[in-house]
Structure formats: C-alpha cells, structure tokens
Symmetry: C2
Subunit: 202 residues, 2 copies
C-alpha cells in the first residue's frame, strides 16, 4: 500500500466534502452576498483550490442553489408541515427565530442579504425567493385562518394581513438583530406582536 499511514494530502472521504463546501458557502455568501462572495474564498475555507471546488458545482449559480437548499433543510424542520396548519405552525415561526438567534447567526445573515439582493428580477435566486415567500405566507394564511375558525383569533384580525406581517416582522427584526445582537430578543418581539391578536399564548 503506497499510502504511508499518515495520509497527509489525501482527498477527503468524499462523503461530506460537498456538504463542507456548502457550509463554507453559507458563511461567505452571508458575509459578502452572492455577487460579491467569491469562489476563491469558499474554496480556501475548505482547504481546496478554486478549480477543485468547481468539480463539485459546475458553476457559481449551482452552488448558490445548493446553499439555499441546505438552508431550507434546516429551518423548515422547526415548522411542522404535516397535518393542518394552526397555532403550532405560528409557534414554529417563533421557534425558528429562537433557533436562528442562538445557533445559526450565519443563516440569518444569509437570508437578509440574499433576500434583499434577490429582489432584483435578474438575480439568480429571484425565483427562489418569490416561490419561498408565496409558500411561507400562504402557509401562515392557512394557519391564521384555522386559528380563527377555532375561535383563537381576536375579532377584527385579518388572517392574510397577520400572516404577511408576521413574516415581515420576522425579517425586519433580523436586520436590527444583526446590527446589534444584544439590543433585542427576536422571539420575544414576535410573541409580543402575536399576543394582541390571539386568545391563546403564542
């Protein structure tokens, strides 16, 4: 066996290599945005050449797609999507805020920077964010509607508005939190928003 014990310089076990790149991609795209984040820096973080990185993702856009997919995979787990949406779905948004603030500040940054950037119609992630917002707002509209049917929504509260605003509030708080993490508790602010709308504790 040519490989002499200490396999310095050997290629990684190929299992988590792609994953490693995506993790680094999250960090870099979060820090500098997509257009300004460089493949070189991502490659550097995983200890690989830029050309080597492009063996796993044939171009930058494809890497972005992978990054977004991985991002979703994580946060969505906290919002129950099985069964009919309801109060637990709403609480899920609060849970995501809690989780992000404590364990995933990188994801918060990524979401803020990319969602703003992808506002431009020609951005490679434009469609993704369009779809994503329609989906999540739609899910929350369903949730609020069902909560209303269960008599847990105060009179005069429009499910569609509450849904939109809950998501908007969550997004807006993230910017302020990124600028000054100690100045506010995102989850607590979300609960304070929800309390005057519900007859049950969020």
């Amino acid at each position: 066996m040519a490989m002499t014990g200490k396999s310095r310089g050997s290629y990684a076990k190929t299992a988590g290599r792609r994953r490693e790149i995506l993790e680094a991609g999250i960090e870099v795209f979060a820090n500098h945005g997509f257009r300004n984040g460089s493949l070189r820096e991502i490659a550097e973080r995983v200890g690989m050449s830029q050309a080597g990185l492009l063996h796993h993702f044939s171009n930058k856009n494809e890497l972005l797609a992978g990054v977004l997919e991985l991002r979703d995979e994580r946060s969505v787990a906290l919002v129950p999507i099985d069964g009919t949406p309801g109060i637990e779905t709403i609480r899920g948004i609060v849970r995501v805020a809690e989780y992000n603030a404590s364990f995933a500040p990188g994801l918060v940054e990524l979401h803020c920077v990319l969602s703003a950037e992808a506002t431009a119609p020609e951005h490679p992630a434009h469609q993704y964010f369009l779809d994503r917002y329609t989906w999540v707002v739609g899910l929350m509209v369903e949730a609020f509607t069902n909560v209303q049917a269960a008599g847990q929504l105060l009179d005069g509260v429009e499910p569609a508005s509450a849904a939109r605003s809950l998501i908007a509030l969550s997004d807006g708080l993230q910017v302020q939190w990124l600028l000054a993490p100690d100045a506010l508790d995102m989850a607590e602010e979300l609960r304070r928003y929800l309390r005057p709308l519900l007859t049950v504790e969020p």
Copy 2:
C-alpha cells in the same frame, strides 16, 4: 467661437451634475448593492466617463456617502422632528411608507439592499446604518412613550418593543413589496399593526 450654437457635447451647467450622479447612484446601488454596483454603470447613466465621475466624488465610498445623504434628505421630511415626538411621529412612518410605495421605489430597494449588506461590520456604510437605526428607533420609543403618557396607548404595550417592531415591520414589508408590489399595501399593513396598540386611529 468654435462652439456652434447648439452646444452638443458641452459640459452640463454644473449645477445639477452632482445631483444627477447621486440619482444614478441610487438606482445602481439599489439594483446591484454597493459592492457590486459599478462606477462605470453609474457614469454611463449620466452620460459621462468613469473618470469624469470620479472628478466629482474622489472615490466610491464618498459617492455612497452622498447617496445615503440624499436618501435621508427625502424620507425624513415626512417625519416631523420638530417639537416633541408623538402620534404624528408614528403617523410619519406610515406616511413614509405611503410616499415610498408611490413615488420612490428606488429608495425602497436601496434601503433594503444596503441595510442588509451593511450588516457586515467592515462595510463602509455599517456605522451609518448603526447610527440611523439607533436614531430612528430612539425617536419612535420617545413617540410611543409620549403617546402612552397621553393615554393613547393600550395597557400592556411596551413602548420600546412597539417602536422596534414598527421599524422592523416597515423594513420587512419592503422586501415582500419589492418581490411583489401588487400583493400588499405597506401603509395599510402598518396601520393594521398599530390599531390594536392605540386608542386613536393611526
């Protein structure tokens, strides 16, 4: 006189030239962000060479400062800052949303993209946004506190939270509005947020 009547190619009247550049800067930085927006594109929009542009602003950061200054100049006019902050200050935020949606979509885009980008501590506009948020949130805290003192705030509403959340909501709605302008009315959503907190109509 070599110049034959029609002064084609003559230099502009120098009065509004700087302003023209800033207007173009708003558009370009709004579309591509600061780091990815190019001086070349800005120069092109005002019909000038990139070098000519840098005669007015000695570097890109200085241009950004000018753009942000111009942006402030406009929106702030709708929020009364003279006298003691109160219900009219809060209504000012709603007015800004109304104004932006109808007349200044470019400013909305600029704010969203840059505030997210400037979240990174090394961004040239980081301090600007830090200061700006402290100022505007502080102003709104004062406003809500005075509204509370006037008995116009419902029990259990924390002025500091309401202030923060109003700003956050405004920011978050902008992202959704940029993605789908016809899907929501920012000002109306802000009013819907305020109504359950106040004893007077926002």
